[in-house]
């Protein structure tokens, strides 16, 4: 019986292939955007896990020393006691200007699953015996091989391993110790407590070492977590926009099949069979659309992944493979969300089918009229959501609270749209003069319930576009200004080694206005790993450095070796205030005298006087880079002379413009994904508009026929349909504008602070909004064009049939 009912219900789609296509495309697009984001996130997580597994994870304890160096004898002690322990040396290794993460492992004591040797590499004698082997990803290997012979001479041969993350090099611990000049110390010792425990507890055997559980790459996962949450939120928003299409299509299909459902019931089909048939139908559609969505999602994710990988590398230093693997977690999640979405969209139809009165007269527009009655409830729900959005920042903090606020704001604004439009139309109607204007406004109000879902989808997409666009443009403007301040030096020089550095420094002194060392050392800053820079006392810093807050004597105190400046992200995450002591590693504290903006850097950073840096860190200081002040016109000549005089690395001399161009290219790449998702969401909304107009057009004849009979031509009616679409799009944009600006504020003042650690000023771009308004109206016109054309072509016979059918 259910089968017969199902066949009768499904036959509707055979007669309405356009409607079926709308439904499948809507759900497919929604699933595709969701799936693509999930695929990207899954790929990134897999990369983090892979990196984490290389270093040991799960049951592996990570032993570290407070001062950062563990004598090799501690490892020997652990081994002799019976512990499954393996040492790791890790550090940044620069070759020919390119920096790599060099990791030294002890392959014979490598731990179970957490073996440090990638799976595709068998441990051979070559790895263990001199000169050893460097394992690297193909791209990294290429860079290493391209380095000048002089730089490569101290390196062992390079072997390609796809399993090594890009930018990393894995080698035997002895080779790493030599290259990183570590002597008899290591950075970490991994202990697998599940594989083998020793006779003596670790607390007694190595009491001075700190024991950490969990992944060594936890910090990266934590840092990138907010980025992925950001993407997920965008994916969900796109899905929600798509769901509006599905909901509208299923709602319309229910209305069109209301008579069929009633006939089936009259012929004796039980309600349970009809509900079962509707659920089976929804599942079948969901699986079909889900499959299309998952395939489309794979294509979209494949296109976006290189950009995301670049973003994660640029922003967080996290390695993510550039190629997408087909992983069950994302394609299953795609099918799951398609099924859940379809069932959610069908739920109301099922409820209506269950309570459908057997003898009620057929009302083709009952759905629309009922929607109109729901406007009041909808407005109340919207006001509650908007109030929640306003209250969240007063009671909660954190990125989840930020996104909850965004969700409440967006859905509140979406829900209030139809009642607000109805109210506006009612007010305009009072001012209308002339029968056509009056009819037009009244008819628009009557159409509103049928179009409301598409308009809500359009509003969400427009608001997102305005909000995210404002955020990105504000960021770009701030970032450009910040680069101008921060990159005050005309030339930047990187030398090969300290001997060359000293020679270059001496050579430059008489030829420039100032040589500003860019010397730094890795260090913990108030307990967070980061980098400390030393600066000389120079007007370049006093005049240009972008300080957010500072004491009046900040630079004097830095020059005197007493004061410290920290970057905004460290300041916010550590909750510091001016005057607070800031501890650097194990060294005595220094007083916080200022905070500077430091966009694009996920880590803590600090600036102290150069002398203080050298006193505190001495041998750990990297002394390879300089910023040069000189008249801008002299820059090319000096750069040429520098290159001619010294054997500098390929990128050893970079002028300000090059650095800015590079920084801006990283910036643009960072937001390429956001821009792409933005465009896709807007496209989905435009499709929603088209779908709604096209399906409503088929039900509009009874409203249009009397006006046609009274003397309005089909062409005039079609023109009015186009104008209506444009007017509604314009009104929707008017509500989307404040919503989008609020969205931008939340993104800049709440989400960005949590996700990236910095807060940005908001800049307004009215021209962009106007362009978006034109685009929205244009999209509405295009969406209305086909239904309007169909109206013009409609034979008068069909208009007359409306009167013939009226009894």
């Amino acid at each position: 019986m259910t089968t017969t009912a199902l066949i009768a219900l499904l036959s509707h789609w055979r007669r309405k292939p356009g409607q079926l296509a709308t439904l499948i495309i809507g759900l497919g697009l929604a699933t595709a955007l969701w799936t693509s984001v999930q695929a990207i996130n899954a790929e990134a997580r897999a990369s983090y896990d892979e990196a984490s597994a290389t270093l040991g994870g799960g049951s592996v304890l990570v032993l570290t020393a407070r001062d950062g160096r563990i004598p090799l004898s501690r490892w020997a002690l652990l081994r002799r006691d019976g512990w499954a322990a393996s040492p790791i040396i890790e550090g940044e290794y620069a070759i020919d200007g390119a920096r790599f993460l060099l990791r030294g492992v002890e392959p014979l004591s490598g731990l179970g699953n957490g073996t440090a040797i990638p799976e595709d590499q068998a441990i051979g004698l070559a790895f263990l015996t001199a000169p050893g082997v460097l394992l690297a990803a193909p791209e990294t290997a290429e860079l290493l091989r391209a380095a000048p012979e002089s730089a490569r001479s101290s390196l062992p041969p390079v072997r390609v391993s796809a399993a090594v993350p890009r930018g990393e090099i894995i080698t035997d611990i002895a080779v790493a110790a030599r290259l990183l000049e570590r002597g008899d110390t290591v950075d970490r010792i991994l202990v697998d407590t599940r594989e083998r425990t020793g006779r003596t507890p670790l607390t007694e055997l190595v009491p001075a070492l700190e024991r950490n559980t969990g992944s060594a790459n936890g910090e990266v996962a934590q840092l990138t977590g907010s980025f992925h949450l950001n993407l997920t939120a965008f994916g969900f928003l796109s899905f929600a926009v798509g769901l509006f299409i599905v909901y509208a299509a299923i709602g319309l299909a229910f209305e069109q099949r209301r008579a069929t459902l009633r006939t089936l019931r009259a012929l004796g089909t039980p309600v349970s069979s009809i509900i079962a048939a509707l659920i089976i139908e929804a599942l079948a559609l969901a699986l079909l659309a889900g499959a299309i969505g998952v395939i489309l999602g794979y294509v979209v994710a494949s296109a976006l992944l290189p950009g995301v990988a670049a973003t994660l590398r640029g922003l967080y230093g996290a390695s993510v493979a550039g190629e997408l693997a087909i992983r069950p977690q994302w394609w299953l999640s795609g099918f799951a969300i398609a099924v859940l979405g379809a069932l959610a969209a069908t739920a109301l139809s099922i409820r209506r089918a269950a309570t459908l009165p057997l003898l009620a007269a057929a009302q083709p527009r009952a759905w629309a009229m009922a929607s109109a009655r729901r406007f009041v409830q909808q407005a109340i729900a919207a006001l509650v959501l908007l109030a929640v959005a306003a209250l969240i920042p007063h009671f909660f903090s954190g990125i989840i609270a930020g996104f909850a606020m965004l969700a409440a704001l967006l859905f509140g604004a979406a829900l209030i749209l139809p009642p607000a439009l109805a109210l506006a139309l009612r007010l305009i109607q009072r001012l209308a003069r002339g029968p056509i204007a009056e009819w037009f406004l009244a008819d628009t109000r009557q159409q509103l319930p049928g179009l409301s879902l598409a308009l809500m989808a359009l509003m969400l997409a427009l608001a997102t576009n305005i909000g995210v666009g404002t955020m990105v443009s504000s960021f770009r403007l701030t970032f450009e200004g910040w680069l101008d301040q921060r990159l005050a030096a005309e030339l930047y020089v990187t030398t090969r080694d300290e001997t060359q550095s000293a020679q270059v420094h001496e050579w430059l002194e008489p030829r420039t206005e100032a040589v500003l060392p860019i010397w730094s050392a890795e260090s913990e800053i108030a307990g967070r790993s980061g980098e400390v820079f030393g600066v000389v006392d120079h007007a370049t810093y006093r005049d240009n450095w972008p300080l957010l807050i500072a004491t009046d004597t900040a630079w004097d105190e830095v020059a005197a070796g007493n004061g410290i400046l920290v970057n905004e992200q460290a300041w916010r995450s550590l909750g510091l205030a001016l005057g607070d002591p800031v501890r650097l590693g194990t060294q005595p504290s220094m007083t916080l005298v200022g905070v500077y903006t430091d966009y694009g850097n996920p880590n803590a950073q600090a600036i102290i006087g150069l002398d203080a840096l050298l006193t505190r860190y001495d041998s750990e200081v990297s002394r390879l880079r300089y910023g040069l002040r000189l008249p801008p016109g002299d820059t090319p000549a000096l750069a040429q002379a520098l290159r001619a005089e010294f054997d500098l690395p390929a990128n050893g001399v970079i002028d300000q413009a090059q650095v800015k161009a590079f920084s801006m290219s990283v910036f643009e790449r960072t937001f390429a994904v956001t821009a792409a998702l933005n465009v896709l969401t807007l496209s989905v909304a435009a499709f929603a508009m088209f779908a709604s107009l096209a399906t409503l057009a088929s039900m509009r004849l009874p409203q249009l026929a009397p006006v046609w009979a009274l003397g309005l031509s089909r062409a005039s009616l079609a023109r009015l349909e186009l104008i209506r679409a444009g007017v509604l799009a314009l009104m929707t944009w008017l509500i989307a504008l404040p919503t989008g600006l609020l969205l931008a504020w939340v993104l800049l003042a709440v989400v960005n602070v949590e996700a990236f650690g910095w807060r940005l000023p908001i800049h307004l771009f009215p021209l962009d909004w106007l362009i978006l308004a034109v685009l929205a109206i244009l999209a509405a016109f295009i969406a209305a064009l086909l239904p309007a054309r169909a109206l013009i072509k409609r034979p008068p016979r069909e208009f007359l049939q409306i009167f013939a059918q009226e009894r």
Partner: protein
């Protein structure tokens, strides 16, 4: 007795708006018999058919079909009797627009689990629909659509056929044609018929006739 209706009452509306549509209606019908219910618009003809057809429930009174009291059945029981025992023909045809003529003809028989292709073929032939089996309802004339509705109602071999103004939407010639076919098929299949109609000439063709005035039979 196939059908017994005993002091049936039905009202619509609330309070002062409450209107009694049926006021103690009683009637009986033997197997194979046909009964025309006539009366003015609003006299309660359709309501009476809806109650007998288990589409609605009475406020008071009893209905027995094949000796079974059906007025007290629950929703599932009513649906089952509609499916298995009763055939319905409506003034508005109520065909499924997305199913072909063949699909519509077989629909109730399939639902009732009594699908008999040979019988459907016979019905199609006798109703003059053999050449239209792959067409959709919108491609048929009113008379043809009503013939499909008659065929659908008889496809499950019901014991009782209820027809509510079956010719109300048709012209005179087509009405006579459809009515003749319906009566002939009922006679051959031994199906009892209750038909609500405005038309005196249509009513004359049935074996019995009852007139409803303000909810009472005369």
């Amino acid at each position: 007795m196939l059908l017994t209706v005993d002091r049936l009452e039905k009202s619509y509306g609330d309070g002062a708006q409450r209107q009694r549509v049926l006021d103690g209606v009683s009637l009986t019908l033997a197997a194979g018999e046909s009964l025309a219910i006539t009366g003015e618009s609003g006299s309660g003809k359709s309501t009476l058919l809806h109650l007998i057809g288990l589409l609605d429930t009475p406020d008071a009174g009893d209905i027995a079909l094949n000796g079974e009291a059906i007025s007290a059945l629950d929703e599932a029981g009513r649906a089952a009797r509609r499916r298995d025992t009763v055939g319905l023909v409506f003034q508005q045809f109520n065909l499924v627009p997305s199913l072909t003529v063949a699909g519509n003809l077989a629909l109730q028989a399939r639902l009732a689990g009594k699908h008999d292709p040979a019988w459907i073929d016979t019905l199609a032939t006798r109703l003059g629909l053999s050449g239209f089996l792959t067409r959709y309802p919108e491609q048929l004339s009113g008379g043809q659509q009503q013939r499909v509705a008659v065929g659908r109602a008889l496809a499950a071999r019901p014991t009782l056929l209820l027809a509510d103004e079956p010719t109300g939407n048709l012209d005179e010639a087509t009405s006579a044609d459809v009515l003749e076919l319906m009566l002939e098929l009922c006679r051959d299949a031994g199906t009892a018929l209750v038909m609500a109609t405005h038309s005196a000439s249509a009513a004359d063709q049935l074996s019995r006739r009852a007139h409803l005035t303000r909810g009472r039979l005369s």
